[in-house]
Amino acid sequence: MKKILLSGNEAVARGAFEAGVAVGAGYPGTPSTEILENLTKYPGIYTEWSVNEKIAYEVGIGACLAGARTLVTMKHVGLNVAADPLFTSSYIGVKAGLVIVNADDPDMHSSQNEQDNRNYARSAKVPMLEPADSDETRRFTVRAFELSEKYDTPVILRTTTRISHSMSVVTPDSEAAQSPSLEKVRALKPEGFSRDIKKYVMIPAFARERHKVVEKRMEKLTADADSFDINIIEINDTRFGIITSGINYMYVKEAFPDASVLKLGMIWPLPWKKIDEFSKKVGRIFIVEELDAFFEIEIKARGYTVTGKDIFPVTGEFSPDVVRETISAAMGEPLETKEYYASPKLPPRPPALCPGCPHRTVFKILNEMGLTVTGDIGCYTLGVLPPWSAMDTCVEMGGSIGLAQGIEIAGGETAIKKTVAVIGDSTFAHSGISNLVNAAYNGRKGLYIVLDNNTTAMTGMQPNPFSGERITLEASVAVDYELLGRAVGMKKDQVKIVDAYKPKDIEDAIREMLDKDSLSLLVIKGPCVIWKRKRKKKE
């Protein structure tokens, strides 16, 4: 088949298709979103945007236990939400393959932290693969399904933003490409769930046994890792050797094309014999890894002297220049610093709420009213920046309503009248609803505002449970805010829906609801202007 250019995310979808995946589930999150959007384009695969990452993962466990190869996608912080099923799914294993694609975001191009999710592989005791370009991403996705079934374990495929959003040349598997109803898929036709309580019901008595199985599995994987062809030793100049993985391999090869490199394709568990062999052949060993000293700590614990985070930064992304400059200096051959042109100071150009966004008005009103605003994750986080300057906290998905409750409890009556939570429709569905239940259950009296733009805008317009459409754009239930309020004991006047284009109505509703001595939910509706434009084009 001829070569094509694909992004890392497109390559995951392509690989999943070639692997005969039958089910894909996930929650949008930069830089992982386009994986599922692309998987939807392939024939014969069920895909869904789940309400949140935990549910996507649970759907994944069920589907794989019923015999369908299943792909679950999310960004790094999404795996925090899905960490509960992750750790125990490690114990119960799989029937058909279960692969979780988890996209880290070093440098936080569009995230609230830059946690290093390699740590999850170690603590949940599951294997993790990390590709270095799009074609590897495609191949590693197929490989991850094979490993998942062979070792009876979920497998995490870790990408980073530079892999997810960079394009490189892919040579698709033509056999898989020729027929969408390929034999591989037919062979994997789900056979349905069959009972196996000692493996699938994790009561302590069974789980104790399964934990031993997990430890044995990881021992076996550790031993087998030495023969995996995705862990590659390249011996060239042996003055020094570099142990690395993922995009950093590309930076290393760019900076030192003739260096000796151990490129880890499986980054957990580590291939110890290969590491021993490599270390015997080279002089000084450098570990090139973005974020945490993950390899470094393991390799040092084995007794090696290596150079890593004592010279490389723990924060942000690397680049060919970071690798070249840092290692050259450590080898006593610092690069000459040439004088280049220095530009004058420019005004910054940060992202901003779109001109024409109907929800800009709300932030103007909140600012003028001088309220404390607990915020959430999405476009509207941009309400923190001038000229709106109307946000005081932003932690994680759904957190706005929880934080507002804590402020109310500790701050009492005055805090209730001065604090509002602001959350978007998709985020409210993700984990805001359970926060509303908590508020009602525990007698809170605060005001929570949902900015409903009818889509998950920040990640590129994905439908959600409040927009009445699924990932395929087929019609679905749209969750009813008023009935939701009723279900948690709120009276009619405690839930209000107003038009985002009517600033006076918004201001009146906020004042009225803040004055009231009861829990309130204010929904401000105004569809995203980009979504509207895109929809018009489609029609």
Partner: protein
């Protein structure tokens, strides 16, 4: 022809909404069709909301890093005047700059900085400034301006015409190829 063994580095910059991603898709696919290894790197997400946008394109015999090493950009194509200077770490004195005189005020900024064209000339002697209004007049519709800029780029990287044609055909909306191809030709001869 471009030397098959040499890596060509192109940096495209501008502001969210200017169509950088489509333009860089066209260039990287044209390089692929011409038989090169090609990589492209950009960041989606926050940058879409009117922030600064960049795209690194690299092609040659074999490409490792999708990110251009510092000062190694052969061409810097900037669709917005001020944005040109935000990315100087990738440029050097030999970088060919193609700079649109389009000026887009960032949010919360009252006055556009002055003297930028002189600064850009200090960055590189090889700078071509393009008046976007004049260019739109020549191509007839602002919708095709980015493909016209691809044409200007084509002057300096010498990929076969067939590769460009194939790539543009693959990337522009159906029914607009002729208009886009004409715009490309105008950019190339401008």
């Amino acid at each position: 022809m471009t030397d098959k063994n040499k890596t060509t580095n192109i940096l495209m910059v501008g502001v969210g909404g200017q169509g950088i991603i489509l333009a860089s898709d066209i260039v990287s696919a044209a390089a692929l069709h011409a038989g090169f290894d090609a990589k492209k790197s950009e960041i989606h997400g926050m940058s879409q909301r009117g922030g600064s946008v960049f795209s690194h394109i690299r092609f040659g015999k074999h490409i490792y890093s999708p990110v251009i090493p510092n000062h190694q950009a052969d061409i810097l194509l900037s669709l917005e005047l001020m944005e040109t200077l935000r990315w100087v770490q990738y440029a050097g004195p030999d970088t060919q700059c193609i700079v649109s005189q389009e000026m887009i005020l960032p949010a919360m900024v009252e006055e556009y900085p002055t003297g930028l064209e002189d600064e850009i000339k200090k960055l590189s002697q090889k700078t071509v400034f393009v008046d976007p209004k004049e260019l739109i007049k020549k191509i007839g519709d602002k919708k095709y301006i980015n493909v016209a800029f691809c044409g200007m780029l084509a002057k300096y990287i010498d990929l076969p015409e067939a590769s460009w044609k194939q790539s543009i055909e693959e990337h522009v909306p159906r029914g607009t190829f002729e208009a886009n191809w004409t715009a490309f030709g105008i950019g190339k001869t401008d």
